[in-house]
């Protein structure tokens, strides 16, 4: 590979003296200082917990499980999400729903939020819009690891009705 000669900018004498440039820099910072002390015009800090910034629509937040028409869990325990999950943090135990069309339901559904990397693969994998990450919320801090494993009940609390059709072909 040939050597690339980067052309360096030639400094003028005043720039080489350094002091005039220092004074120029001081002028800029002093201007900002005076302006911000007296008018607070340029301050861009947000006082976070009081003043929250809305997240973009596609922000992947804490998971939630959607409801079916009679407010039961919509998930059919197909295990697609836990298979797709690169962090292996979805733990589902399936049970018989007693329904010919939708055979299974999750007896327990746990997500370990400390392990989750918020990649969104689970919601993409889900065939019946049962798991979503659109709550727009952070995982909350807690004093024990166990509290960060969120369970089916908690996941359903944030849920909502979905207009998507559940089940395979012909249902």
């Amino acid at each position: 590979m040939a050597t690339i000669h980067v052309k360096r900018p030639e400094l003028t004498f005043a720039e080489k003296l350094y002091i005039p440039e220092v004074v120029k820099g001081l002028a800029v910072t002093t201007r900002q200082l005076v302006k911000n002390v007296f008018t607070r015009k340029d301050i861009t800090t947000r006082q976070y917990p009081e003043e929250k910034r809305p997240y973009p629509d596609r922000f992947r937040g804490r998971h939630r499980l959607m409801w079916d028409d009679d407010k039961n869990v919509r998930c059919v325990a197909c295990m697609l999400c836990s298979t797709a999950c690169p962090a292996n943090c979805i733990h589902i135990v399936a049970g018989d729903r007693g329904d010919d069309k939708v055979e299974k339901y999750p007896v327990s559904f746990e997500i370990d939020l400390l392990v989750c990397i918020y990649c969104g693969f689970c919601e993409e994998a889900c065939p019946c819009d049962a798991i979503r990450m659109d709550s727009g919320k952070h995982p909350l801090p807690s004093f024990s690891r166990d509290k960060q494993r969120i369970r089916k009940v908690q996941l359903l609390e944030e849920g909502d009705f979905s207009i998507a059709r559940r089940g395979g072909r012909g249902t």
Binding site: I19, V22, G25, L26, V28, T29, T30, Q32, L33, N36, V37, R40, D42, I43, T44, T45
Partner: protein, 357 residues
């Protein structure tokens, strides 16, 4: 006055000045700096810790000071496993004591005119070597940093300590040489005499403009702040020579640095900005040359402190404006540019003084 009284008064004055004013300023500076840098960078800085949660004016300010103090007092005092225990313990002390001693020769207010007999009420010790004492003590503060760094048995600290030693020794030369110009003009090393001289002719900044700029540069290097903060360059050395220090020992190191900043500001004000002289105001003296103290004295002390604040502000502003030098650039600047320039400044001053006389 007997010797015992002299010593007693000296100690009282020392405690009043060092603990009443200097430590206070240094503590407030730790927060002021964070506030100032925040506003310069379009942020708001610390504004959360209110005193008992009550929002009155300055509540956040005092709250942060108090909580910082509490924090350094109750944090774990960690000592690295294979550190040299005693030196590690002594390091911060060796660093902070010279910073306190600097204040012995700084006059806060008007004293007797040069040559006149009398006590100086605003000076702890009227030494005839004056500023030279200050330089002697200042060079001792290198030991605190270097010993503490070596004792903590860590590569970061050691590098920081080495850099401190090299940098402080290099820039002390320039710092001292630039004051020599002032000594030559006013014919004394006592700050009191120099300030009287400035009242009679002109402020040092007009008589020694080059000297002032060089002094400013060297003083920033002496106090180890950006753009000369290589001894504690965060990006390379964690925290430099006090990387291994925590809790109160860490706080003592940084307080020592802040006291150094205030001390350098005081010297600069005394030598270049006219000390306690108010422009166009004559200090009234009685027949023997001792000033008549009154309300004007209070104003003069206030203006001295005000000038100090301005100089400290300038130092901080520079610290938050300029990026850090590379190490070779630092040494080159010190030895190849600043030192010859200050020597040249001395020669020119001597020639002009000879010609004028």
């Amino acid at each position: 006055m007997s010797v015992g009284e002299l010593i007693l008064f000296g100690i009282i004055k020392f405690i009043a000045i060092v603990f009443g004013w200097v430590m206070l300023v240094a503590t407030v500076l730790t927060l002021m700096e964070r506030k100032q840098s925040a506003f310069m960078q379009n942020r708001v800085g610390p504004n959360r810790a209110f005193v008992f949660g009550k929002k009155f004016p300055l509540s956040a300010f005092i709250g942060h000071l108090l909580s910082d103090a509490l924090k350094v007092l109750v944090k774990e005092d960690f000592e690295p496993p294979r550190a040299n225990k005693w030196l590690h313990l002594l390091g911060p002390g060796i660093a902070v004591i010279p910073a306190w001693l600097l204040w012995v020769v700084i006059p806060f207010g008007p004293g007797p005119m040069p040559g006149a007999e009398g006590d100086h009420p605003f000076l702890i010790a009227n030494l005839n070597v004056g500023v030279l004492f200050m330089f002697a003590v200042m060079s001792l503060s290198v030991y605190g940093a270097t010993l503490g760094a070596w004792a903590s048995n860590s590569a970061y600290s050691l590098l920081g300590g080495l850099r401190t030693a090299a940098q402080m020794i290099s820039y002390e030369v320039t710092l001292g040489l630039n004051l020599v110009g002032v000594f030559m003009i006013f014919g004394s090393t006592r700050l009191n005499d120099i300030i009287w001289g400035q009242g009679q002719s002109a402020w040092g900044i007009f008589l020694q403009p080059v000297g002032f700029v060089l002094f400013l540069v060297a003083s920033i290097a002496e106090t180890k702040r950006a753009p000369f903060d290589l001894p504690e360059a965060e990006s390379e050395l964690a925290a430099g020579y006090f990387t291994e220090y925590s809790s109160m020992r860490f706080a003592v190191y940084s307080l020592g640095e802040f006291i150094g900043i205030v001390a350098v500001a005081a010297v600069a004000v005394c030598c270049f900005l006219g000390g306690w002289q108010i422009p166009w105001v004559e200090t009234p003296v009685d027949a023997s040359g001792v000033p008549i103290y009154g309300w004007l004295t209070v104003a003069q002390i206030a203006i001295f402190l005000f000038k100090m604040v301005i100089f400290i502000w300038l130092q901080m502003q520079i610290r938050w404006t300029l990026p850090r030098f590379r190490y070779d650039q630092l040494m080159k600047l010190g030895w190849l540019y600043l030192l010859p320039l200050s020597l040249l400044n001395l020669v020119v001053t001597a020639i002009i003084m000879y010609a004028v006389r």
